[in-house]
């Protein structure tokens, strides 16, 4: 495998491959001679196995596990005649069983992958067919390099495609790469150089150029190639011209392009990594104990071997042998052989079936979590999605939660709430019906009356001086001018794409170009009510929906109808229209002739083209923005009649109040990045030719770049704005500061030259950033905005519960400190009683001093004798309870000092955080988020859970022990990286406190029980060695021995592991503190294993010696004795389960009944029909004899009672004298309920008696 992966890369590294357009190859060319035949087709296969390779490959993989190798070793050992203990075939039962179960599971999983592959491979797209001379519907799997494809808006890109033509006159198109890299902003792609000019004349058949491309690489944004025209002209092409598989075409009616990489050679497939394997804490503890089991096994084997040697040595002379020693070897040699025999007969000590059982249990647990109706989101029709199957119990042991804020705690519904212009604050009170709005969509606002007046004044001013626009400018006051510019900035300084009408591709899904007349005919046949053009579109959409299946159903656009009164409202449609990728919808699209509205689901790309409803009767353009914030700003501007009407690469047309239509020239766009925290545009006014830089960004980055001023009015303005900003932040609003800078042509040109140089530089990303910063200085303040992002419902309750559960909650956000603190208070992350520790240092030393000061303060509160230096693991629990709880706020800058490798501040910082019940990190970058999680996980050695919804949380989610994705608005990337996907933050409470608690408790007890069960059985066999001369004889029938663990006693542990509840869900929810049990890992502790072993030792002693004593000096034969012991052991094991079970359900009872019943049934059948089977010693009729003997019944009862007595007594004493927290609250809970019942009974009694009276 290693070889064939490596070699092709080396071979092709130097080569350039040539892709020939397929339509230039004459039809009917044999496949072998086709120039593109060496490149793989577009069919993908993500399955591990094929029908043929399944058996060998699966076995090969399974034997990679140490456990299975051990099995194999045992089986082989059994083939040595001198050692062999069991029948050769019988000894294979366990390994066959385990391998078989695992193989079935693997096959099942692979089948799921196969089905999804099939669905994807059978999606369709339109490919140019040279015979029919038009685009023809083709399955994805039949696509190949060299094909020309036609894609419509919102269509998934089937392979890596080089763009040749787009619907845009400038040859632009946009793709959403969310599926690939999680970035939600749209990326622009161009047609190849030289083709932008001939967009309208492009004809697929005319394209006859070959394309030379690099061999495929995993690097998503590296692509080089050359288009070699027939004339010999060579045109270089790059990433800008390439559409990548799994991306979605956006904001473009259609594109046409040529496939250069297909199938497994596409960037998407090359980057498709397999799932990660996480191991839970409990599993690690269990593995440690399994190692102890191995030690115990070896000790037992050594004792047995020594015993064997001593026993043999007691028969001194070799020629004077007792008749029962058949082959005489020297005692030492015999001891060595017997050692290996012991390894075989005591093999169940290593609980190999435990691993299979755990896997099955976890799958069932996951199934039940998935189907919990309380975790079902009605609104979004989403359940909990468990992507990782093997860490369910980890959910019950979470100690630290790291949460993103936006979209996770908040709705990500951006509402323009306040703005301050020229030092004047304008409030926009909330609108009542906001509840029903979809997330990610900007909300209509009530315009502020005063601001509206001012705008109207501006407009009046324009009318007064209609003849001279220049004159109007001079007439305006500074305030009005600032208001005007403020809104121009809102409208201009963004990357919003304006669409007048929805995207529409005239080619339908089957590749036929539709003419309008055809549509009309269709309309008439489809719907009599549909007379308007809108309805026409819909009817066609309706039809095309059934044509092409979408590769992933989660992204399907949904049609919603809103019934409302405003019939004048023209239909506003999202880009989902006219896509050929609509999925066959079970619901027919009903139509309302005059009011139709398409709303995109909040699901996948909710944030990136968002749709805004029109506030007035005007035909409002459709804005599609990168982020909901931008959309909210543009919409706010629109509300105040400062309307962005059109925007192309070089110009933006704006309706400016007071000036009318102005077409600004977009000279330069300085896109947003998280380190600059700002975004700017440089525009040139069409009339004045004035160059202006408009900037919006975080207050921290903008305010520091303001031009120094001596003007007291200006200083007051800045001061007022800062006051307002602080007020906004205290309200929990996200603030953005708007500023501008007037540039002279010379200034800009000078910068531009430098910038161009920076772009050419090697380390260009950093240099471009620096270059941007150079331009964004000397700014003039215009104002600021406050946008509200409301908390999701249930968030405060959930966070309060999590904190009460003792989980330390960290919220990591990019927001301003005041905003973050405020949201923290409203989310109950901080409570008013908490002492707030703030870390906002501007230097490393300052950070160090603050941390030390806080630590000293805490140290003073610690009980005497413990200080932080001597006890580095002291924590919250060590603090006396009467001291107030602490919460820590740390900002991004301080974090950089703390996380800096050289600063040595990590340890003190983490020590400090251990004394805080919640931590808030503001202004944190995505990388810092992941790094914090990593540091906390590694240094504090705690179990961490990270929850987030956006692409910026992905690294954090992957770093944490448990990654939870919110399948919300910011795309699927977080979900794809997560182990569990919830649809809302509030479900985390039940998810952790109930399911996590249960899963941990169940699994811990199941594992302990499993270890107990196996050990007891092994000890029984070991005690027998005392009576059989340490010869390695087994008194039980080999069938029983092999099936005991695998079949007879396999169900009760699963019943515990899946269904047992130590406390009901409502109790766990009402008392979050009960989560402590799992958080501190108090069910499965290091000593739990040894207690279990001690118990199993005691029980085996009782069982064995009671049976041995009862049957001593009798005619009992070895098999009857063994059968009696097996069934006694079975009863004891089952009664042990009965003691352990905390909630009885029919499943528990059934599992036990099946166990014991199965055993007896098997015994009867086996002993009745098997006179001589499998070459085993015959145990024909033994069970009848055993059951016929009264000694059997007496010993079984006696042994069961005596064996379970200690565990039972301890359990009773503990729960009545010193109950643990769960039991205590369970008892209280029951008492309350009983009290209520009593009350009810009593009242019904009194009422009935009064009736009698």
């Amino acid at each position: 495998m290693f070889f064939w992966r490596r070699r092709p890369e080396d071979d092709t590294a130097r080569k350039v491959r040539v892709v020939v357009p397929n339509h230039t190859v004459p039809a009917g060319t044999p496949a072998k001679q086709h120039p593109n035949h060496v490149y793989p087709g577009n069919e993908v296969r993500t399955t591990k196995y094929t029908m043929l390779s399944f058996l060998p490959k699966n076995l090969f993989e399974q034997f990679h596990r140490v456990a299975n190798l051990y099995f194999l070793f045992i089986v082989l050992l059994n083939w040595f005649p001198a050692i062999n203990a069991f029948g050769k075939e019988i000894a294979m039962i366990p390994v066959a069983f385990v391998l078989g179960v695992t193989a079935v599971k693997d096959a099942f999983e692979d089948r799921r992958r196969h089905n999804s592959d099939k669905r994807i491979n059978n999606s369709t797209c339109r490919v140019y067919n040279s015979v029919q001379e038009r685009y023809v519907k083709t399955l994805w799997k039949n696509l190949r390099a060299g094909d020309l494809v036609h894609l419509s808006n919102n269509e998934f890109i089937p392979a890596d495609v080089l763009v040749l033509r787009t619907s845009d006159e400038h040859g632009l198109c946009y793709i959403d790469t969310c599926n690939l890299d999680g970035e939600t902003n749209l990326k622009q792609r161009n047609v190849i150089r030289g083709f932008a000019e001939k967009q309208s004349t492009f004809e697929a058949s005319q394209f006859r150029s070959n394309i030379e491309v690099d061999p495929p690489t995993t690097k998503i944004y590296r692509f080089h190639g050359t288009v070699v025209h027939e004339s010999g002209e060579r045109v270089p092409v790059g990433t800008d011209n390439l559409l990548l598989r799994e991306c979605v075409l956006k904001n473009t009616d259609f594109v046409e392009g040529m496939v250069v990489y297909a199938g497994h050679e596409t960037k998407a497939m090359l980057n498709n990594g397999g799932p990660r394997y996480k191991r839970s804490q409990l599993e690690r503890a269990m593995n440690r104990d399994v190692v102890w089991c191995v030690v115990i096994l070896v000790v037992l084997c050594i004792i047995g071997a020594i015993g064997c040697k001593l026993w043999l040595a007691s028969f001194t002379s070799p020629d004077f042998l007792p008749p029962f020693i058949t082959n005489y070897y020297s005692p030492s040699y015999e001891a060595v052989l017997t050692f290996w025999t012991y390894v075989i007969i005591l093999q169940v000590m290593i609980p190999l079936s435990l691993y299979v059982t755990i896997e099955m249990t976890k799958i069932l647990q996951v199934f039940h979590i998935h189907n919990d109706p309380h975790l079902y989101d009605e609104e979004r029709k989403k359940r909990v999605e468990c992507r990782a199957l093997n860490i369910t119990e980890e959910l019950g042991q979470v100690q630290y939660i790291f949460s993103d804020k936006t979209g996770t705690l908040t709705e990500n519904k951006m509402i323009f709430r306040r703005c301050t212009i020229d030092g004047v604050d304008y409030n926009h009170p909330p609108i009542a019906e906001m509840q029903n709005l979809r997330p990610g969509v900007a909300t209509p606002i009530h315009p502020n009356a005063r601001l509206q007046d001012e705008i109207q004044a501006l407009e009046r001013g324009m009318r007064l001086s209609t003849d001279s626009s220049l004159g109007s400018r001079t007439l305006k006051s500074t305030h009005e001018q600032r208001v005007q510019e403020f809104f121009i900035l809102l409208a201009l300084c963004n990357t919003v794409v304006v669409a007048k009408h929805p995207h529409h591709d005239s080619m339908n899904a089957s590749g036929v170009i539709e003419s309008p007349s055809v549509i009309t005919v269709e309309v008439q046949s489809n719907s009599s009510a549909a007379a308007t053009t809108t309805a026409t579109k819909y009817s066609r959409l309706n039809e095309s929906r059934s044509v092409t299946p979408s590769p992933t159903s989660s992204t399907r656009p949904r049609l919603l109808e809103l019934s409302g009164g405003q019939s004048s409202l023209s239909p506003i449609c999202s880009s989902s229209e006219s896509t050929p990728l609509g999925t066959p919808s079970p619901k027919p699209v009903r139509r309302l002739a005059n009011l139709l509205r398409v709303v995109r689901p909040g699901g996948k790309h909710g944030s990136s083209p968002a749709v805004t409803p029109s506030p007035s009767g005007d035909k409002k353009p459709i804005y599609e923005a990168e982020s909901p914030d931008e959309l909210a700003l543009v919409d706010a501007a629109y509300t105040y009649n400062c309307r962005l009407l059109k925007r192309v690469a070089s110009t933006a047309l704006i309706l400016v109040p007071g000036e009318g239509m102005v077409e600004y020239e977009l000279v330069q766009v300085l896109p947003f990045d998280s380190s600059r925290k700002s975004m700017s545009v440089v525009v040139r006014h069409p009339v004045t030719k004035q160059l202006t830089l408009y900037t919006k960004g975080a207050d921290s980055s903008i305010l520091s770049q303001l031009a120094p001023t001596d003007d007291p009015a200006m200083q007051l303005f800045i001061f007022n704005t800062q006051q307002h900003l602080n007020a906004y932040a205290r309200q929990g609003l996200r603030v953005l500061v708007m500023a501008k800078r007037n540039l002279s042509e010379a200034e800009f040109d000078a910068w531009h030259v430098l910038h161009k140089e920076a772009e050419m530089m090697h380390d260009h990303e950093r240099r471009i950033r620096e270059s941007f910063c150079r331009l964004e200085t000397n700014l003039i303040l215009l104002g600021a905005t406050g946008i509200e992002d409301r908390l999701q419902d249930g968030v405060p309750e959930t966070i309060a519960a999590l904190i009460e559960a003792g989980i330390v909650v960290w919220v990591l956000t990019g927001d301003k400190q005041e905003t973050a603190i405020n949201i923290a208070y409203s989310a109950k992350l901080f409570s008013p009683q908490m002492e707030l520790l703030k870390l906002a240092a501007r230097s490393k030393d300052a950070a160090e001093t603050t941390i030390t000061a806080y630590l000293q303060d805490i140290e003073r509160q610690l009980p005497h004798g413990s200080n932080l230096t001597s006890n580095p693991l002291a924590s919250l629990a060590d603090l006396p309870p009467h001291y107030p709880k602490r919460a820590l706020v740390v900002d991004g800058k301080t974090l950089t000092y703390i996380l800096d490798q050289r600063s040595n501040l990590k340890k003190p910082f983490l020590t400090l955080t251990r004394f805080c019940s919640s931590v808030l990190c503001c202004r944190a970058t995505p990388l810092q988020k992941a790094y914090i999680v990593k540091v906390v996980k590694e240094i504090l050695k705690v179990r961490t859970l990270a929850i987030g919804d956006g692409a910026n949380d992905v690294s954090m989610i992957q770093t944490a022990d448990i990654g939870v994705g919110i399948s919300g608005q910011e795309g699927m990337q977080a979900v794809m990286a997560s182990d569990f996907a919830l649809s809302r933050f509030k479900y985390l409470e039940r998810f952790l406190l109930v399911h996590g608690h249960w899963c941990y408790d169940r699994l811990a007890r199941m594992v302990l029980y499993f270890l107990y069960k196996n050990a007891t059985f092994v000890f029984l066999i070991f005690w027998y060695q005392i009576y059989c001369g340490f010869s390695g004889a087994v008194m039980m029938d080999q069938m029983y021995l092999m099936l005991y663990n695998l079949v007879f006693t396999s169900l009760p542990p699963i019943a515990i592991g899946v269904y047992d509840q130590d406390a009901p869900a409502d109790l766990l929810l009402s008392k979050p503190a009960l989560y402590k049990q799992g958080r501190l890992g108090s069910v499965y502790k290091p000593h739990s294993f040894w207690l279990t072993m001690a118990d199993s030792l005691y029980q085996s002693l009782v069982m064995f010696f009671i049976t041995a004593a009862a049957y001593s000096d009798s005619t009992v034969d070895i098999w009857e004795f063994g059968t009696s012991l097996t069934s006694t052991c079975m009863f004891v094991n089952l009664l042990h389960v009965a003691v352990e079970i905390k909630s009885w359900t029919i499943i528990h009872i059934l599992s036990m009944a099946c166990s014991i019943g199965g055993f007896y049934c098997f015994a009867f059948v086996y002993n009745s029909f098997c006179v001589s089977c499998f070459g085993l010693p015959s145990t024909y009729w033994v069970i009848y004899k055993t059951l016929g003997n009264s000694v059997y019944w007496f010993t079984t009862v006696l042994a069961s009672v005596l064996a379970l007595l200690p565990r039972f007594v301890i359990k009773v004493l503990r729960s009545s004298l010193a109950p643990n927290d769960v039991t205590k609250s369970l008892l209280e809970h029951r008492n309350i309920r009983r009290g209520e019942e009593f009350l009810v009974a009593w009242s019904s009694n009194t009422s009935s008696s009064s009736v009698l009276r």
Binding site: P322, G1029, D1113, I1118, V1171, Y1180, V1191, V1212
Partner: protein, 262 residues
């Protein structure tokens, strides 16, 4: 002592007489057992050393290798042993007679002592004349008789179907064990009520050596009780465990009264 005689020469004849007195009547069915101590019939190699297929009457010149080293007599004689294996080879072969002082010889039955299922299903003679069938097979080295001479008087109890052999072949679970040897024939006059009190003589033809394993031999006469043989263990254990449970019950009750109201 016969034990030493036998040890020196396993083929020599030695008889041993033991007298005993029954103090009271043994009412009901009386069984005679022989008991061995320190005989590890449950040793791993020993338990395996048999060929169930051969015992089913399917004679094969090459018995199962499980029987090693008792498959063939020795290097010169390549005849297979029937019944092969260490278990069969070590068959208990003392012959015990019981003589009542008053009534003379007690008639003992050597049938009905094995499990009926064993006799019916697990042990079958080869078809045809036994002597003919076993002509090509050697007797186990320790045996004094051939397998077809085990009970010449009763063809149903001869060869592999001999009940003494069947009883012996059911290997015991513990190194101290007893095996059913004979049933007293209660149809004979004087024995209808059981075994009456009085003096008896056990006449043992001493063939079986217990010296090599430091064991002892016993003869046990017993009537059947509900619990099989006489074993006081279960009774005592029940009393002890019952008392403990009772005590705990009282303790729990006290605890419940004191603390249960919380």
């Amino acid at each position: 002592m016969c034990a030493d005689v036998i040890l020196k020469d396993p083929t020599s004849e030695c008889t041993c007489d033991i007298t005993f007195t029954l103090d009271k009547d043994f009412a009901g069915k009386v069984y005679m057992y022989y008991g061995l101590t320190n005989f590890y019939q449950n040793h791993r190699r020993y338990v395996k050393s048999r060929d169930d297929s051969q015992l089913l009457g399917r004679l094969n010149p090459k018995p199962s290798s499980d029987c090693n080293p008792f498959t063939t007599t020795n290097a010169n004689d390549t005849r297979a042993i029937a019944p092969c294996g260490a278990i069969a080879n070590s068959l208990f072969n003392d012959e015990i007679e019981l003589i009542s002082e008053k009534l003379g010889q007690v008639k003992l039955l050597n049938t009905g002592i094995a499990w009926p299922s064993d006799k019916k299903m697990k042990f079958n003679n080869p078809s045809g004349d036994l002597t003919e069938a076993f002509k090509e097979y050697a007797k186990p080295p320790n045996w004094r008789k051939n397998v077809y001479e085990l009970d010449p008087n009763n063809p149903d109890n001869n060869g592999f179907e001999n009940e003494d052999l069947i009883v012996w072949m059911r290997t015991s679970a513990l190194p101290t064990f007893r095996k059913l040897y004979r049933r007293v024939d209660h149809t004979a006059t004087g024995f209808v009520q059981g075994l009456l009190a009085g003096n008896y003589l056990l006449k043992i033809k001493y063939n079986y050596s217990v010296k090599p394993f430091d064991g002892t031999k016993r003869v046990i006469l017993s009537t059947t009780s509900l619990l099989g043989g006489k074993n006081p263990f279960l009774g005592i254990a029940y009393i002890v465990v019952g008392s403990i449970c009772l005590l705990l019950g009282v303790l729990f009750l006290l605890i419940h009264i004191k603390c249960g109201k919380r």
